[in-house]
Symmetry: C2
Subunit: 597 residues, 2 copies
């Protein structure tokens, strides 16, 4: 049986000491979010996640969702009650606009709560998570009337939301989509088609479900330029805004999946469902991107979240499991064997997970703060600069945190030996659940391509230059500090590899785009390693400042010095191999004819 | 739905052109195994695997094994018939001694068939696989009478075998085991205790099951020096050798596992079961090692096998799935989109799997040939030298082929996008099945420790020196050949890293064993990369020789030039990062107190 304890203290350290959120009092929502209030929110959020959501994680996986003959879908036992409590606590609209009933708190705080809920019960957390993605798209692209109609009940959790993009023959390439929208005299549309892999497409948690759907209006151009976004609720609304007649959208089946069994992944059949256009005609993809960028940060957090909970359980087991003796002599003479935590390879494994997690958590919050600045800063240039860096880092967050998060769940499972393969232990569920995060909201190969093909060259590489500049400035300002120098030296070496790789792309990617494609995944991971390394540098600096101020550090903070060393010695060197692979280019990769595969 | 085609041609190329098995005609079994006969065996074995075993792979996973109230266990539908056909075909005792009904063929051939059957249906292949491991232990350590009693029916597949080592509180550290053996006046023993994770512990495939069990004879010393090996059949034998009375050993439950659902993983209860000592008293671990070394090679093959079948299905999908357009312009203008095989990142992923698989297959067969030489060479020095290198490489095979095999199954799953997460596609089963291979028969961390702690330093490092010497000789003999030079240069660089790492261990591992432990997994993978690189060098040489002889190469052989380039450019550079991690030593790894984890 797995357990989970939300890392409230670590988040508070990062918000207060590393990101200095108190200095952002000029942003809406931040002035009201004093450190004391944020801590109180995190503590209560942690309680809900630990006590309400986590106990349903294994049972939800075992039971799964069931579709009845009539197309209704039952979520696992306990999910309804847990959802009601989660919604009633105001956890869904934490960072959403107060105008529509949201709490208006910083995204930075909501990101932390997202990590907690995804660690506690990823399948559950997807119901509110997708709702917030759909709400974000409506908020940006919906008409005032649409926002008034849908947002209050979504932000309160009374209704949930979905995103309907994928069709059997198209996922990444939405230009191929076939779902049709027929214009009606009253300005509404009738939608017909089949959507697959629709998370939370049907369930019994709420009285209504708000579907956002991509479809092609009759007569619209082919390809991505003919796609529009629609809102189509499960139940049409009565004049008083309450759910009325059933709309012609239904769950045809639920998928048998590797994991996230507690979330209903549906085939959705639209049989002339009534829907309304959201935003401009034929600009649906644009509107969907709002939702997807929000969702990508959420998926990145899922990767971190599974890595965190997997670590916690593996570390606990390693401290308890007695097996063999330390290489350097008996450590627990009073016991029949030493706990396996005495073994260097066990520690190496656990430290590699934790050094990633704690750096990745900083990276998530650093990016969430960029989102807050981008959305809320009164200074347009500041907002745009933040948005550009966030745009650059979104594929990195999504690709790296989910790839490594999954690897870490696998490593954590390994700590249990044979017991890790047994369902009841819980470690294998983290692996199965974490696996989807590498795939959905744009498979990680697509993230890598988005990074090197679009985000990196955009505006003449301005975002990357801004990030490199910030990093370089940090190094310059601190390299004379002998406490930071060893770490900064290792980081500088990897940053140098990153700049060489960037240069290599500039010189070779233009003349042959396949050179960029062949190195894209390595580049994404390299940028992730350096960016998380930068977070570790900021963490180290904050720790030394606390010490210099005479504070006594907690053992968890003291451990960060070792984790930073580990990161520098054992994780950053990978950039050398990545640079070698990137520089190899596309020749061998593209040499074979397709039929030779 | 997955498909599978056994790589018969590749095996034949490796056996004939790379390993030159015709030159081993002096070994028993080899003279009779002409290339033509071997090919005929492989073709027929491939047919059985493709047509009989593979069609049961997904259904076996879905259905799993079921234990009835009476403790009997039903295997999935079709397994009984498939097993009967497999046994009747003589596939079980392929390489076993003709003295007891085996076919006496080279292990090298059996290893290839093992790969085919594990690719086709890993859960199924474990039933015969474990039987052969148990038979090997009986063959080496059993009395003549025991061999006569048990081996013929095991080698024919009439009965299966198991290994009973693990108990709830001990897996790796068998010194802790509690199962008791009480000596009886007639020389037999009564065994009492509980064993867990017993693969094929109970099933309905055969009329009897031969359990090999580790237990402690009453009064024996504590720890590993008091463990003995016993044979305890499910049914005691009548005087005529047929199964008679039920023995007091039964399946208490079957485990709920992440994968290999078609294999019954049992909790076995011994309630005074009648058993007979195998080999010497208190020397059970010694006897078990025979079984475990055999099994480790088998598990390594499982890693390769899942990687291979995962590759085949992913490559096929990538050639068929239409999505997006090539970065370099439309490739399939007549279709709504290009097949995803046009994308460099897709190719990079597939090539990384295949470059590993084809090198790893050579490495498996090269080692299997060492096993043949070790067991069969009339020259003692030759046999011992082969055995030493095989001993060195056994943990590398097991650790590297299963770690990378699993990673490759994950990569292959990624090629399917969202469809890869759906059970019906089949890709996720390969991931779940492959996962166990990293754990059982000694978790991979233990393999790494066995390598750096025992196999590497044994006899003054003789085995490693022999391998390095062989590799160096190959490089010296061929580096002037300009066709081989680029590859040998890359290989030489990685081999240099390996030698530096070895030296580092010699200098730092003795004064602090934790330094060796902290680098053990990286070292294991480094040795694997170099050894498989050596295989690629041998493959390249064989290919150039064929070309020089005027042969026209098949497209599959032509592709190997590209795969070797890929291996040199994109896989070997990892040794640089591995060396950096190894050289970092144990300081950061061991710095934290246990409670800080």
């Amino acid at each position: 049986m797995s357990t989970y304890k939300a890392p409230v203290d670590d988040v508070m350290f990062l918000l207060r000491d590393v990101l200095n959120i108190e200095q952002y009092g000029n942003l809406p929502g931040f002035a009201d979010a004093s450190p004391e209030l944020v801590e109180a929110i995190l503590v209560e959020g942690a309680r809900v996640c630990e006590e309400v959501l986590q106990p349903l994680n294994a049972s939800g996986d075992q039971e799964g969702c069931r579709r009845a003959e009539d197309g209704s879908v039952a979520t696992p036992k306990g999910f309804r009650e847990a959802y009601a409590e989660f919604a009633a606590g105001g956890w869904m609209g934490l960072a959403a606009s107060p105008e529509y009933g949201g709490q208006g708190l910083p995204h930075t705080v909501a990101a932390a709560i997202n990590e907690f809920s995804s660690s506690a019960n990823m399948a559950f957390a997807m119901y509110p998570g997708l709702t917030m993605g759909a709400a974000a798209a409506l908020y940006v692209h919906g008409s005032d009337e649409q926002k008034q109609t849908w947002l209050p009940n979504m932000l309160s959790g009374k209704w949930t939301g979905t995103m309907n993009l994928t069709e059997p023959h198209c996922g990444t390439d939405l230009g191929l989509l076939k779902t049709k929208a027929a214009r009606q005299p009253d300005g509404s549309f009738r939608i017909t088609g089949t959507k697959i892999f629709i998370s939370a497409g049907e369930h019994d948690l709420t009285e209504n479900i708000v579907h956002l759907v991509l479809a092609r209006i009759e007569g619209a151009p082919e390809g991505v330029k003919g796609i529009s976004l629609f809102v189509a609720p499960k139940f049409l609304l009565n004049a008083d805004g309450t759910p009325g007649a059933r709309n012609a959208v239904s769950c045809g089946s639920i998928e048998h999946k590797m994991g996230i069994h507690g979330n209903a992944t549906c085939v959705m059949n639209y049989d002339g469902a009534t829907a309304w256009l959201v935003g401009e005609e034929n600009r649906g993809l644009n509107a969907m991107f709002v939702m997807m960028n929000e969702a990508r940060l959420g998926v990145a957090i899922q990767g971190l979240a599974q890595s965190e909970v997997a670590y916690q359980n593996a570390a606990q087991y390693a401290k308890e499991r007695l097996q063999g003796r330390a290489l350097t002599g008996v450590k627990a003479a009073d016991k029949p064997a030493d706990p396996i935590i005495v073994h260097p390879d066990v520690r190496r494994t656990l430290l590699s997970i934790r050094a990633f997690n704690e750096g990745a958590r900083a990276f998530v919050l650093w990016n969430a703060l960029k989102a807050d600045i981008a959305h809320r800063s009164p200074d347009k240039a500041t907002a745009e600069a933040a948005d550009e860096v966030l745009g650059l880092m979104t594929p990195v967050l999504k690709g790296v945190l989910t790839d490594v998060g999954f690897d870490n769940a696998v490593k954590a499972q390994q700590m249990f030996g044979g017991h890790g393969y047994i369902v009841e232990t819980g470690a294998e569920q983290f692996v199965r659940d974490a696996r989807i995060a590498m795939i959905y909201e744009g498979a990680n190969g697509i993230q890598a391509l988005d990074l090197v093909g679009r985000k990196l060259p955009r505006n003449g590489g301005r975002a990357a230059m801004a990030f490199f500049g910030e990093l370089q400035q940090f190094v310059s300002e601190n390299e004379a500090d002998e406490k930071l120098a060893p770490f900064l030296k290792a980081l500088g070496k990897s940053a140098g590899h990153l700049q060489q790789a960037t240069m290599w792309f500039m010189q070779n990617g233009l003349k042959n785009p396949d050179n960029a494609g062949a190195g894209s995944t390595d580049y994404m991971h390299m940028l992730g390693l350096v960016a998380i390394g930068y977070m570790w540098a900021k963490i180290l600096k904050a720790l030394h400042a606390k010490k210099a101020a005479g504070e006594t550090l907690t053992p968890a903070l003291e451990a960060k010095f070792v984790l930073a060393d580990f990161y520098a010695q054992r994780m950053l060197p990978e950039t050398g191999a990545q640079l070698a692979r990137i520089s190899a280019g596309a020749d061998a990769v593209m040499a074979l004819p397709a039929e030779a595969f």
